[in-house]
């Protein structure tokens, strides 16, 4: 592993992406809009008491944390890997003695840092205005860290294997649209998944999307019992392993195909 080269790449991507910070700020703002809408919808709906056991202030806390988690875990790989494959720029990566994964990771880190420069102040201002209640126990705070890291890993590699489809299909947009819709519905953006109809709740708990966003949010802000936490972490870890496995297989097969047909 060439860590020295990888770190240099991170710094470069960062300085390059900083040139576009206004673009990233607008993008981050766009990503904040759907959770913000549902923040207002649910906290208004709960005005006269609670909905699904949550007070308006708890909804605010849930969605503010969700905004942070969603942006931290958002998969950029369709642009940072998929477009590189489609445009034939992969050659430049393959000619250097550095695993291509580093290019993606550096873009990931650079992009997330640039966006956080916008999202954290925005969330703080919203918190001052909307007054959330957050009664997280120290255990919840501690567990939130691995839940968030696994969520990031899962979403990153899930996005990565989807991006690898660019080796075969020039456009995988339709599939990505389906995936985005599933994330929107089942990850806890539309509503905390406890408020979904029963069959959707089952789907959400089985499929990976809830573990990309909603699960870490609920670890910090919700009332998950020990059984929920345990099964949550197990399923999250299992999906992460599956995502990494799919990435490895598709990346390797994709490279073989790339080497067969040329870029």
């Amino acid at each position: 592993m060439n860590w020295r080269g990888g770190w240099a790449l991170v710094k470069r991507s960062w300085s390059s992406w900083l040139q576009y910070r206004s673009f990233f700020f607008v993008l981050a703002f766009g990503w904040m809009i759907p959770p913000l809408i549902y923040l207002f919808v649910w906290s208004t709906a709960a005005q006269s008491g609670t909905v699904g056991g949550m007070t308006p202030a708890e909804f605010v806390a849930y969605y503010l944390v969700l905004i942070l988690v969603n942006q931290l875990t958002y998969a950029q790989t369709n642009w940072t890997v998929g477009d590189v494959i489609r445009a034939g720029d992969l050659n430049a990566w393959l000619l250097r003695p550095l695993p291509p994964l580093f290019h993606t990771l550096s873009a990931e880190i650079a992009g997330k840092v640039v966006m956080m420069a916008f999202v954290i102040p925005a969330a703080l201002i919203l918190a001052l205005v909307l007054r959330p209640t957050l009664n997280a126990t120290p255990l919840q705070v501690v567990l939130f860290v691995p839940a968030l890291m696994l969520a990031w890993l899962l979403r990153f590699f899930w996005g990565y294997w989807l991006a690898c489809l660019a080796f075969w299909a020039t456009r995988a947009d339709a599939l990505l649209a389906v995936q985005d819709a599933l994330v929107f519905l089942l990850s806890g953006v539309v509503a905390p998944i406890g408020l979904l109809p029963p069959f959707m709740q089952v789907a959400a708990r089985v499929l990976p999307f809830y573990y990309m966003v909603g699960f870490p949010v609920e670890v910090l802000t919700g009332h998950l019992n020990i059984a929920d936490l345990l099964s949550g972490f197990v399923i999250q870890a299992a999906w992460t392993i599956i995502a990494i496995f799919l990435y490895c297989r598709l990346w390797r097969a994709g490279l073989l195909r790339y080497a067969a047909v040329g870029g």
Binding site: G5, W7, Q19, N91, L95, A260, V261
Partner: protein, 330 residues
């Protein structure tokens, strides 16, 4: 005996491409069942190149040059055959191999658009694990040779095509590769920029003994840089040897230009057999004669015609190459 720097044996690359007739019906049919066609891009070519050699790799568009270079740089798997570059099998893409070679593509930039070239160079220095001293001295040398110090801190987006090409060369040579593949390095550049880059490549090859394989459509590049050329056409190797001998072998004729004294201008000429008139304008005539018979024919011409001026030349290399590209054969 030690192995040559680049050894290629029976290297073959066949692409499978989907084919489809025009029209709606054909496109419906191709949804269900796709027809494929095998296209032979490179067919069993073989050559070997010694360390420090500078070889021009020429052929018309679509001849298989870039495919071959991509196989040698490890970007493509061959369908059959083998290749060794600096002792490595390229398509295994081992890190040590990648540190030994470099590929510079004239039509594909690897510079990041928004940051100054120096930043990209620094990252490359880190990727190749160069010590700060090595990095500095190599960079200084390249920058000096290319006369581009003033470009180092400008964003790449503000550079001209020629200036960007200089950056590509620096990016490709920072790690002092022993084997360099240059694919159309002078594409789209003006004449003086072309000749400056040529001088640079020559200089670099002499200083560091790097093996260079160069493709170019500008014969001036090849003439200036490459004592040896490898010519491929339709994926087959047509010629491997000195550029000057290429003309001799492939163009078995010479050009004779004669000037006639004024009184004979415009009159019918009595020419020996085997002489072809290419052009005639009043008192100037351009003839094509068989290479072997040239001396005898010349003597005859001097005896029979009132010649005021005479020049014998090899046909221009462009004309020879054009003849091969058009005719497809040697």
């Amino acid at each position: 005996m030690s192995e040559a720097q680049i050894v290629v044996k029976q290297l073959t690359k066949t692409y499978r491409v989907p084919v489809r007739e025009a029209g709606l019906r054909a496109s419906m049919r191709s949804l269900v069942r796709r027809a494929y066609e095998d296209v032979a891009a490179v067919q069993a070519i073989a050559f070997s190149i010694e360390a420090g050699e500078m070889v021009g790799f020429i052929g018309p568009n679509g001849a298989g040059k870039t495919t071959t270079l991509k196989m040698l740089a490890g970007l493509l798997h061959p369908t059959a055959g083998e290749a060794r570059v600096a002792g490595f099998t390229p398509w295994e893409r081992r890190p040590e191999f990648l540190r030994t070679i470099s590929m510079v593509l004239g039509n594909k930039s690897q510079m990041l658009w928004d940051i100054p070239p120096l930043d990209t160079f620094r990252v490359l220095g880190e990727i190749y694990g160069l010590s700060p001293i090595d990095f500095r001295s190599t960079l200084d040398e390249l920058v000096e040779l290319l006369e581009m110090r003033s470009l180092l801190n400008k964003p790449v987006r503000n550079l001209s095509l020629g200036e960007r090409m200089k950056c590509e060369l620096v990016a490709g040579l920072l790690h002092r590769p022993a084997v360099v593949f240059l694919d159309e390095p002078t594409l789209g550049l003006d004449v003086s920029m072309q000749s400056r880059l040529r001088r640079f490549v020559l200089d670099y090859n002499r200083r560091h003994g790097a093996t260079v394989m160069l493709t170019s459509h500008y014969m001036a590049d090849v003439l200036a840089l490459c004592p040896r050329v490898i010519l491929i056409h339709h994926g087959r190797l047509l010629y491997d040897g000195e550029l000057s001998k290429l003309a001799e072998r492939l163009a078995p004729f010479k050009l004779v230009r004669i000037g006639l004294s004024n009184d004979r201008a415009g009159q019918e000429l009595d020419l020996p057999i085997g002489v072809e008139v290419l052009q005639r304008a009043d008192d100037r005539v351009e003839l094509r004669v068989n290479r072997g018979e040239a001396p005898a024919i010349m003597a005859r011409l001097l005896n029979t015609l009132p010649i005021t001026d005479l020049a014998v030349e090899d046909p221009p290399i462009e004309a020879v190459i054009d003849q091969i590209y058009q005719g497809g054969g040697v």
